[in-house]
C-alpha cells in the first residue's frame, strides 16, 4: 500500500518534471534564439516554467538575477549558496542520497547548466549571526546567488522587528555591493500562526525589505497558503499541517527553480533617466 502510494507519487513527480522540462526547454530555446551578440536576451522574458498542479500558482515576480545570468553566460555554471534554518525548505529533499530537488530541476531543464549548491544551513541561527557567517561564506565560496531562508527563527526568538529589519537589510545591501544575487525565502505558513502578532510583524518586515531593496522573495507563506487551498479545492480532505510541510518542500524547490529560471533570463530594469537638476 505504502509502496504503491510512493510509486504514484514518484510517477506524479516524474510527470511534473517532464512538464517543467518542456516549458523550460521552450523558454530556453526562445531565450537563446533571441540573444544578441553579447549574449543578452533582447526579447521579453519567456513564460516562467510551470510548477506541478498540486503546488498551485505561486506568485513569483520577475526579478532579474544579473550576476547569476553572467555566470551562466561565462561558465555555464551557477554557484548557489544556501543559508538559513532549513535547507529542505529551500532546496527540496534530495531523497535516497540524490542531490537536492532544486539542483535536479535546474540542471534537467536548463541545457548545459551546471548548478553547484553549497549548503551552509545551520539551524537556530538568527538573521544577525547568519548575516555575519554569510559574508565569510561568500568570501570563501564566491557564489553567484545566495538563497537565504530568514525570519522564522527571529520570529520565534522574539527578536525586535527593527533589529531584524536592520540586520537583513544590511546583509542584502552588502551582497548587492559584492555582485551576489540574493533570493530571500520567507516565513512558513501555519494556520495557528496567522494571529501571532510578532510572527506577522516579522513577515511584514521581510516584505518591506524585499520591496525596498528590489530583491526576490520566495513567499513561502503565501505558497503554503496556495498549496493548502489547492488541496482543499481538489476535493481532498483538509490538509494537516504535517502533510502540508512535506508536500511543501518539493513545491518550494519548484518555486525557487522557477524564480531562478525566470531571473536568469529576465531583462535588467532600464536605468531611470537622470532627472533634470532642480533648484
Amino acid at each position: 500500500m505504502e509502496r504503491s502510494s510512493n510509486d504514484k507519487r514518484l510517477m506524479a513527480r516524474r510527470a511534473a518534471m517532464l512538464l517543467i522540462a518542456g516549458v523550460l526547454a521552450l523558454a530556453l530555446w526562445r531565450g537563446a534564439s533571441a540573444q544578441d551578440p553579447a549574449g543578452k536576451p533582447d526579447t521579453p522574458p519567456a513564460p516562467p516554467p510551470a510548477v506541478t498542479k498540486d503546488c498551485g500558482e505561486a506568485n513569483v515576480t520577475v526579478t532579474p538575477l544579473p550576476n547569476s545570468a553572467l555566470a551562466l553566460q561565462k561558465r555555464q555554471q551557477v554557484k548557489i549558496l544556501a543559508i538559513g534554518a532549513s535547507s529542505a525548505a529551500m532546496l527540496g529533499m534530495g531523497h535516497d542520497g540524490n542531490p537536492p530537488l532544486l539542483e535536479e530541476i535546474l540542471e534537467r531543464n536548463i541545457k548545459g547548466l551546471d548548478v553547484e549548491i553549497i549548503n551552509r544551513s545551520y539551524s537556530g541561527e538568527l538573521a544577525e549571526a547568519a548575516g555575519e557567517r554569510l559574508k565569510i561564506e561568500v568570501a570563501l565560496n564566491h557564489p553567484d546567488l545566495v538563497l537565504w531562508q530568514v525570519g522564522t527563527n527571529d520570529a520565534f526568538a522574539q527578536v525586535p522587528v527593527e533589529n531584524f529589519e536592520q540586520s537583513v537589510t544590511n546583509t542584502v545591501r552588502w551582497l548587492k555591493d559584492h555582485n551576489v544575487d540574493v533570493i530571500l525565502v520567507g516565513l512558513h505558513y501555519m494556520k495557528q500562526l496567522t494571529k501571532d502578532e510578532h510572527y506577522q510583524a516579522i513577515r511584514a518586515s521581510l516584505q518591506r525589505i524585499t520591496a525596498a531593496e528590489s530583491v526576490l522573495r520566495i513567499t513561502r507563506y503565501e505558497a503554503m497558503e496556495v498549496l493548502a487551498r489547492t488541496m482543499r479545492e481538489s476535493g481532498r480532505p483538509e490538509p494537516r499541517d504535517f502533510g502540508l510541510t512535506e508536500a511543501g518542500y518539493d513545491c518550494m524547490a519548484q518555486y525557487v527553480a522557477r524564480a531562478i529560471a525566470v531571473g536568469l533570463f529576465a531583462k535588467p530594469p532600464k536605468p531611470h533617466a537622470t532627472p533634470p537638476p532642480t533648484r
Binding site: 532549513s86 529533499m93 534530495g94 545551520y122 520565534f156
Partner: protein, 362 residues
C-alpha cells in the same frame, strides 16, 4: 572519592553553563556570556580543557600505561562519548517530534537540521550513526569523539617524539586552512560545523600546555611577559567585537581563512585570542575561589561530571527553545529557563556523583 573543587573543573563548569545559555538563541541572558566581548567562546574553552585533562591523565599515569593500555583506555572513552552522542541525538529527535505533534506545529521538525531525519529517515539514520549527519547544536560531541579517537596517537607522539607533537598539529591546522579541507556531512551535503582538522590544534595545545615539560614549561617560565601581551590582545579584540570592527572578508588576502574570524575552521584570529584569554585568566581561580567558595564548588561539580552535564545541557537547551517559542521569550520566561536549567544541571552532577560513590562503595 570525589575530587576537590579545582580550576580545571571550575572553568569546565563555566563553559558548560555558557554553552547551555548560548544554545538558546535569542535568550536574554545570552548577552551576558563572555562571547559578547570575546572572539572565541565557550566551545574553544571546552575543547582546550578536554586536551588539558588528557594531558593530566597521561602525565599522572606516566609509566603505568603501556601503548596498548593507552589505546584501550582512550578508545574506551571515545566510545563512551560516541554512545552519548547517539543517545542525545535520538532523544533530541524524539523531543522535536513530540513537540511538533503536541503543539500541532510541523515547523519544529525542521529545527536543528532535523528535517532530513524525518523526511529521508533511512539514509539520515545511517548518517547519524556515522556522525556525518549532526543536529544543530549537537555537533560538538562528534568533534570530541574524533579527538578522543586521535588521543592515543597524540599520547604516543608525546611519549616518543614530544618536540614533534605541536609542530605536527599546527602543520595539519595550517594545511586545513590553506587548502582548505574539512569533514563532509552526508546525506545532506555540507560540512561539519566544527572542522576536526583545525579544532584538533586547540585540543593538542591544551594537552601540551598542561605538561610541566616542553612548551608547557616554557610558557610557565615566561608567564608574566605572556600575560602582559595577552591582556592587550584581549582588550583590543574586546573593542573589535563590541563595535563589530572586522574587515570585509572578501577584501582579505588569500588564503582567506588565515585572516578571517570563522568558528567552523577555528581561524588563527580565534585561536590566538582564546590563548590570550586563557593566559590572562590562568591562575585567577586561586584568587577568587576563596571569596566565592559556593560558586567554585557549584561550577566544579558541573565540570567534574562534564559529559553527563553536557548531554543534559544540550537537551535542556532544546527544551528551552521550545518553551520560549510556546510562551514567547521574555525576561521572566528566560529567567525561569536559565535558573531551572542550571538547577537541573546541578542535579545531574549530584546524581552522577551519588552513583559514582555507590559504585565505589560497592
Amino acid at each position: 572519592m570525589i575530587r576537590q573543587a579545582n580550576a580545571i573543573d571550575f572553568w569546565r563548569g563555566f563553559a558548560l553553563v555558557s554553552i547551555f545559555i548560548n544554545h538558546i538563541p535569542g535568550i536574554y541572558f545570552e548577552r551576558l556570556t563572555h562571547r559578547n566581548l570575546s572572539i572565541s567562546d565557550s566551545a574553544e574553552l571546552f575543547v582546550f580543557l578536554a586536551g588539558w585533562s588528557l594531558g593530566l591523565l597521561v602525565s599522572s599515569r606516566k609509566g603505568e600505561l603501556t601503548a596498548p593500555g593507552l589505546v584501550a583506555r582512550l578508545g574506551g572513552r571515545a566510545m563512551t562519548i560516541y554512545a552519548a552522542q547517539i543517545l542525545i541525538s535520538s532523544i533530541a529527535l524524539a523531543i522535536l517530534a513530540s513537540a511538533a505533534y503536541a503543539f500541532d506545529n510541523p515547523l519544529i521538525l525542521e529545527w536543528h537540521n532535523a528535517a532530513a531525519a524525518f523526511q529521508d529517515p533511512a539514509l539520515t539514520h545511517i548518517g547519524l550513526v556515522l556522525l556525518t549527519h549532526q543536529l544543530g547544536y549537537f555537533d560538538i560531541l562528534p568533534l570530541y569523539v574524533v579527538l578522543m579517537l586521535a588521543a592515543p596517537l597524540i599520547a604516543l607522539i608525546d611519549k616518543f617524539a614530544r618536540p614533534a607533537l605541536v609542530p605536527i598539529s599546527l602543520l595539519l591546522y595550517v594545511s586545513a586552512l590553506v587548502v582548505p579541507f574539512t569533514a563532509p556531512t552526508w546525506p545532506v551535503a555540507g560540512q561539519w560545523f566544527f572542522n576536526p582538522f583545525t579544532w584538533q590544534a586547540i585540543f593538542v595545545l591544551g594537552f601540551a600546555l598542561s605538561r610541566d615539560e616542553g612548551i608547557g614549561a616554557v610558557v610557565r617560565r615566561k608567564m608574566r611577559l605572556i600575560k602582559i601581551v595577552a591582556l592587550q590582545i584581549v582588550l583590543v579584540t574586546a573593542v573589535l567585537v563590541w563595535f563589530n570592527w572586522f574587515p570585509d572578508p572578501t577584501r582579505l588576502p588569500e588564503p582567506k581563512l588565515l585572516f578571517l574570524n570563522g568558528k567552523s575552521f577555528l581561524t588563527p584570529m580565534r585561536l590566538i585570542q582564546f590563548l590570550a584569554l586563557a593566559a590572562v585568566f590562568s591562575g585567577s581561580y586561586a584568587y577568587f575561589a576563596p571569596w566565592v567558595p559556593w560558586l567554585a564548588d557549584f561550577l566544579s561539580s558541573l565540570g567534574r561530571n562534564s559529559l553527563n552535564v553536557f548531554c543534559v545541557a544540550s537537551l535542556l537547551s532544546l527544551c528551552g527553545q521550545i518553551v520560549r517559542y510556546l510562551y514567547t521569550g521574555s525576561l521572566p520566561t528566560d529567567t525561569i529557563i536559565v535558573i531551572g536549567g542550571i538547577g537541573l544541571l546541578r542535579l545531574t552532577a549530584g546524581v552522577s556523583e551519588w552513583r559514582d560513590r555507590r559504585t565505589t562503595n560497592a
